[in-house]
Symmetry: C2
Subunit: 202 residues, 2 copies
């Protein structure tokens, strides 16, 4: 059950462990920049042994990206669900999005860098999920503007800026830093509302 591990690790090699190692390496060096031999070395086994736990390198990428994209969409739904105030909904949507990019840095980096390396049909599914998310945020901003609560002159531009700002958390956040993931998410949800033109911020 455990690998001989010439590199020191002694964790069980499972499909989840393979995926985790691939996630780390894909995030660090990119999909095309990572060889399966590196994934295998990270687990202390030889390259062909990987195929006892996965079907292909492409499927590894597809799983990581699709799962993450679906979770983003689900979290957005949960964030806005049951909140009446449009500003509250937007704040919470931005907060969970920023929080995810602090707590799931590796997956976020892969989604934003290697989506172009995905094969169909997963590529279309992922792009569709991403589009739905952006449109939903844009609609929130537009609703806030219509109610006079927000002052964004162009909801599309604002939604792009706001979302990508949250994405960028994955590029610098460190769990060892002074700020916790929750702290950062809180700050970024404030930033997001300011970008959307919240009147009289607290």
């Amino acid at each position: 059950m455990t690998a001989p591990t010439p590199t020191g690790e002694r964790v069980a090699v499972t499909p989840a462990a393979v995926r985790d190692a691939a996630t780390t390496l894909f995030a660090e060096k990119g999909y095309h920049g990572t060889a399966l031999s590196e994934v295998a070395a990270h687990l202390g086994i030889r390259t062909p042994s990987l195929y006892n736990h996965m079907r292909s390198k492409q499927e590894l990428l597809a799983e990581i990206v699709l799962d993450t994209s679906q979770q983003v969409w689900a979290e957005f739904g949960a964030a806005v669900d049951g909140r009446a105030d449009v500003v509250d909904r937007l704040r919470e949507a931005a907060r969970v999005y920023a929080l995810r990019h602090a707590t799931h840095r590796r997956e976020a980096l892969i989604v934003n860098r290697d989506v172009a390396s995905l094969a169909e049909p997963v590529l279309s599914q992922v792009l569709d999920l991403r589009r739905r998310h952006e449109r939903a945020v844009r609609a929130l901003i537009a609703e806030g503007v219509a109610q006079g609560r927000l002052a964004a002159e162009d909801p599309r531009t604002a939604s792009f800026g706001l979302l990508e700002m949250c994405v960028s958390v994955a590029r610098w956040f460190s769990p060892d830093g002074a700020l916790s993931a929750q702290d950062v998410a809180e700050q970024y949800s404030d930033f997001a509302l300011r970008v959307a033109g919240l009147r009289d911020p607290d």
Copy 2:
């Protein structure tokens, strides 16, 4: 002087043309995801002929990324130079940065995606330039806060969010869209000041 061009192009093949083709393809599919054979096909020549106009694939990447990074730093200097008001300086710094990401989309995408594929010593130079830029923006924010003109509670977090928001322009902007690069840069410089906590926005 002109290539036989089985693919239809008939422009002269020069070092600049090779770099331009590589820029387009690296931006689209990533450094490791692009084969030199594709660059050659894009120019209507065979792969080995590329070596009459370049030294290596790695050097192609290094030139693109280093040049761009240096220009960013130079533009920042020119933007803040001679402006007394700290808010004006920050606004202009954000404006030129956002503008560049609309007008030089391909280069921006490469810098942000493939910097990890750079070899030393260029890697260190690029990271250093990027760090200088971020620190300078952070200092502007801190100065604005000290003067009571801005209300960012953490200049570091704000500078990251603000800069990466501008970077994201490269991911969606289209010169064929309704907004010009200047329009977008204007909007984003407003966003940036709001993120930095500008009091009573116009």
